[in-house]
Subunit: 680 residues, 2 copies
């Protein structure tokens, strides 16, 4: 059986599993009329957002496709790959979210029966997204191979696919991220802070928008993000592998022939898919479900998948007769990914000292809590940086720069189950909200709260993993860019002033990007807040519960504003590497990418962990510490949580995409830069 | 007249001006008995802090001196230069602060007569520090030349002087910075927030500690910081110049001979001193003083100094027969420095949109205000980065890497007047506090408020300037390091995995450093808050004003805690480049420094401007906007201000020193690294 057959069969298998999970979810009880009504409102809002987002994306994709088609050294085949990548990513996001918005009400209904039942429905709802991402990702690449592999420019065509996926990702992540956090913040500030009504209270006009946000941001946005990482890491490794075959400078003949160069990354990824499927089916709890049992169930799934992936990767290396050093590089990436996830847990869970210290600092008010939390975020960069550095050095020692690229695939290979775990969180969160709004018994809310809380823990780990993977992937793309642009590595001199200039500019870009996304959340939530306040003021009987708020108005405001605000940060990301490459030259562009990757990594980790630890410090206080809910300490913690939300769910995760997107734009543009040395 | 004579005479002239200013300040009226009493308490606290700080520093200096003495390729002469640098920096800080703590009461008394009189006393009080820094700096370097210039290892001895200055700077800046912000935050949180008493109220036990902090942090700490930048930039340029003379790789014979290499940086600096002295005497206002007149007076001083510096620099280049390209490099640095300062003003003054937007966001609470302000800080990195990049590219185009180094001197040459302006701020701030505590008439407080407010504006500009200068200086030191370690620039390959690893680790270091300093402020202010609360609880009649608080207890607690907390961040900064150099090798160390400089620069700008804009957003609301003092908007703004304080006055400014210190440690260690390639 040829390797291409294996990858195609694996991709189809992933989609079959997705269909099985989707069928399981869809045949569940949809709950009471009230539950259905709320779920329908969420569905309507989420689909309306995605529809409008995709319309904007279609215009963008069309413009870029034409540009790629007419550019010298690129052409229409690159355009075609680009469009194909964008469509694949959009499709994965659409299918995954379609199921997630149907799984929420069913999870609420299932939680009325038992916690275990609730976990199964919500986790399987999330697993659809995970399986779609990896299945569509690998099938798309396989199709690209079948169509284009005899084309001499094949090497320059594949990156177009990644560029398409990355473009969809940045807009989906930024747009969805702005939506979700603006709605969340808006709902909280007017509801919890000003009016003193509980979270998810049906009188709050922004509450449906908040639920919609979970789906468009944390399901569709996250899916596009991971789809991007997945295909980009494979593409980067392929490019480096192909160049290793044709030249002697890279990889020191680690890769024996063209077939290996092409199939090794694909087979390692395929092994990861099989391992993830097995892992997903291992996620189950017994009859006496407790929090620790839930967490252990998920961990059993991911750890098993990691071990199996390592075994499959070894087989792939062995069967394709590649150098065994490559296996060690894959293993280095895989282990680093798992450990980065765990370290995130230490810095954000209230079981450990860092978050407890933040909670303690709430006693002296919101300001000290902010400072302590931000310091914690900065400090939490130590383990991920050290682990990535070790992974790079180990991978390089065993398999040269090819090793650095394939270490990224190692880290990402268990993505099927990682994404399932990530997408499970918002489904559980939505279910909890629906339960709250539907006057279901308190024990049901307790169960959905347990599921939601588990989702927060896995989200923190998942974020750490996503950042680590993004860092390695972007680095691999950068290496591939230099090779594709025919730059000798020895020519990129760190202390060449254009390179230093590139590094400084590169370091600046994530900062600007974050400023724009944070401001976007601020602006959008400002309009939501005013709308919710207006409804409380103008709709008579709303506060008393005799009248209903106009949910769809809030959703529309949020949609319009979020989509408007996502454009500038997205465009800046795509255009800036092109400008740097043209003005300062392709060598400076390498410096620019290194600066952006390093700074983006640091900011992403800081934002994710500061945000996560503020969130959990608040949760710790809500368990009764320092006066519990309603105390001054709690008020301080709410400020921290609100500051952290756009950091951890909008700006931080978008940075992952940003650094990959800038790198893949450079890779796509590489043929244009060959022999060019910049205007300056 | 030989150049060395010029530099010595200029140095002496600066000290004569300092003595003149000091004599002027000391002969002023010391004010009422009450004013004297408060001033005496501040003096006592500040001197006690400095005394204990210097004791700790003495131990540190002794240990490092021994280490340098016994290290291979370094030796006791390097030790001697190191000790000499430390003593010079300590002396400049001591003299400057001694006058500042005497100028505060006299400014308070002078403000009773007129605003103009108050400005003159406070500005001349600050000018003593400015003149001492540049005078002692250049005299120290001249003495080093006279003693060592015939020694063959001369080139390796000079950096020891800078290392000594940098070591004192990091501890003084971090220790003083922790003290000042912990006392400030502690006083505000218990006084303004909890007890609702005004700022600087005598019933607040932390109020004297707060005044002491202004002196030890913003006068002594800032002085040490700028002393470091000043001598380090000269040393870096000298080293590069000397190497340019002896080799052909650097500078393409821009520097004709050894004398030019040595004297050009010194003479440019000397020209800047003369220009600064003239500028200082131009700072005066007419009989109808308004805010804009005050600001114009200071601006007239600094702008005149900049123009004169450019003229003197041209003369120096011409007389020493150096390449005219060097003049353009100096000019690029000088102009970039001025513009960076101005851009800071745009992002932090409430005359402009960014700060007004932050004030506006206070309407939706503390959380949105924090997010908007932080985004503003991130966005404000654009002008400094672009300006530094342009300065680097221009300087390099006209004078190779030697140009990059001397551009740093260009930026720093007006330091005499810049530091005078910076040190003026805390004197005016102290004077305002003393007026508040001494029951002087409200119009006197209005005058000191005007002086204080002017000080805040100049402080923001000064911070921008200091950051830009630190970035260029650190870069120059890095270039000097590579040359001193006999590394060919072409050997430092950006994408070499150890270099990439170095960059990632380097980017991480400023993040950790900030986390440590922010936490240190948090811990120290926590103890102050508890002490002030305790005094309000236990001292009967304190709130009613019939009993006095125990000021010295708060000062002691603050001193002990700040000095304890300053050690770890200081040591990490000194040790980390040594470890990276030994483990990953001297090439990776270059990557490490680039990463640290770039990330440190971004964080320093972000912290300085976010902090500055929160501060001024609060001040804007206090003028009556959005409900004015006491409104919910104001409460939100106070949170922002409190978050920003340790960022802008502790963590941010310390980063400047950090990146220079790491670079000069590398330069000092360069002879040890020659021919060494790392343990890994």
């Amino acid at each position: 059986m040829g390797p291409i057959l294996i990858t195609i069969i694996t991709g189809i298998l992933a989609l079959v599993v997705a269909a099985f999970m989707a069928a399981y979810v869809l045949k569940q009880d949809q709950g009471s009329a009230k539950v259905r009504e709320i779920s329908a409102a969420i569905k309507e809002g989420a689909l309306a957002f995605l529809g409008r987002e995709y319309k904007i994306l279609a215009v963008f994709v069309a413009v870029v496709a034409i540009a790629l088609g007419v550019l010298p050294n690129l052409g229409w085949l690159v355009s075609a790959a680009f469009v194909f990548g964008a469509v694949c990513s959009g499709l994965a996001g659409y299918i995954g979210m379609s199921i997630a918005i149907r799984a929420n009400s069913r999870t609420a209904a299932a939680a009325q029966k038992s916690l275990n039942h609730g976990l199964r429905v919500s986790f399987r709802g999330g697993a659809v997204m995970g399986m779609c991402v990896v299945g569509i990702g690998i099938l798309g690449l396989s199709i690209l191979y079948l169509v284009f592999h005899s084309n001499p420019n094949f090497l320059f065509i594949i990156p177009g696919y990644g560029f398409g996926a990355s473009s969809v990702a940045i807009f989906a992540r930024v747009g969805g991220g702005i939506f979700t956090k603006a709605a969340d913040t808006g709902a909280d500030i007017v509801g919890k802070v000003e009016k003193g009504i509980p979270e998810d209270d049906p009188r709050n006009a922004a509450v449906i928008a908040d639920f919609v946000g979970d789906n468009v941001g944390d399901v569709a946005g996250m899916g596009a993000d991971l789809f991007e990482s997945y295909v980009d890491s494979i593409i980067a490794t392929m490019t480096l592998g192909m160049i290793a075959v044709f030249s002697v400078t890279v990889g020191k003949s680690l890769v024996p022939n063209e077939a290996t160069a092409w199939f090794l990354p694909m087979l390692v990824a395929a092994g990861g898919i099989i391992a993830s499927i097995i892992g997903i089916f291992l996620v189950r709890v017994g009859n006496k479900p407790e929090m620790s049992a839930l967490l252990n169930a998920l961990r059993r799934g991911t750890f098993s998948a990691s071990i199996l992936t390592a075994i499959f990767a070894f087989l792939a290396v062995y069967l394709l007769k590649a150098d065994i050093g490559i296996f060690w590089a894959i293993l280095a990436g895989l282990i680093a990914g798992v450990l980065i996830g765990e370290s995130t847990n230490f810095f954000t869970s209230y079981v450990y000292k860092p978050t407890l210290n933040i909670a303690k600092s709430s006693q002296t008010g919101g300001a000290t809590l902010i400072t302590t939390g931000f310091a914690n975020g900065l400090m939490s960069t130590i383990p991920p940086i050290i682990l990535v550095v070790i992974a790079i050095l180990v991978a390089h020692r065993f398999a040269d720069i090819y090793g650095v690229a394939i270490a990224g695939i190692g880290m990402l290979s268990t993505l099927g189950i990682q994404d399932a775990t990530d997408a499970y969180g918002p489904v559980a969160d939505n279910a909890g909200g629906i339960v709250e709004m539907s006057d279901l018994p308190p024990e049901v809310r307790e169960r959905t709260d347990a599921l939601d809380s588990l989702g927060n823990t896995t989200a923190a780990t998942g974020k750490g993993f996503a950042i680590g993977a993004a860092g390695l992937t972007a680095l691999a793309l950068l290496l591939a860019y230099t090779q594709a642009a025919a730059i000798k590595l020895a020519d990129i001199n760190l202390l060449d002033p254009p390179v230093i200039a590139g590094i400084f500019l590169g370091v600046m870009l994530p900062a600007i990007f974050c400023a724009m996304t944070l401001n976007a959340v601020g602006k959008t939530s400002f309009s939501i807040i005013n709308e919710v306040r207006r409804q409380f003021r103008e709709i008579k009987g709303l506060m008393e519960g005799t009248a209903k708020p106009d949910y769809s108005k809030s959703v529309t405001i949020c949609t319009t504003s979020a989509l408007k605000q996502m454009i500038a940060p997205g465009l800046i990301t795509i255009i800036s590497p092109v400008i740097v490459g043209i003005v300062l030259g392709p060598l400076a562009l390498a410096g620019f990418l290194v600066g952006a990757i390093a700074c983006g990594f640091i900011l992403a980790v800081t934002f994710a962990n500061a945000g996560g630890s503020w969130d959990n410090a608040k949760k710790w206080i809500e368990t009764g510490a320092f006066g519990g809910k309603g105390s001054d300490a709690h008020k301080a913690a709410v400020i921290g949580d609100t500051v952290g939300d756009p950091m951890k769910d909008t700006a931080g995760p978008s940075l992952n995409i940003m650094i990959k997107l800038m790198s893949i734009v450079s890779l796509v543009m590489a043929p244009v830069f060959i022999g060019f040395s910049g205007l300056l």
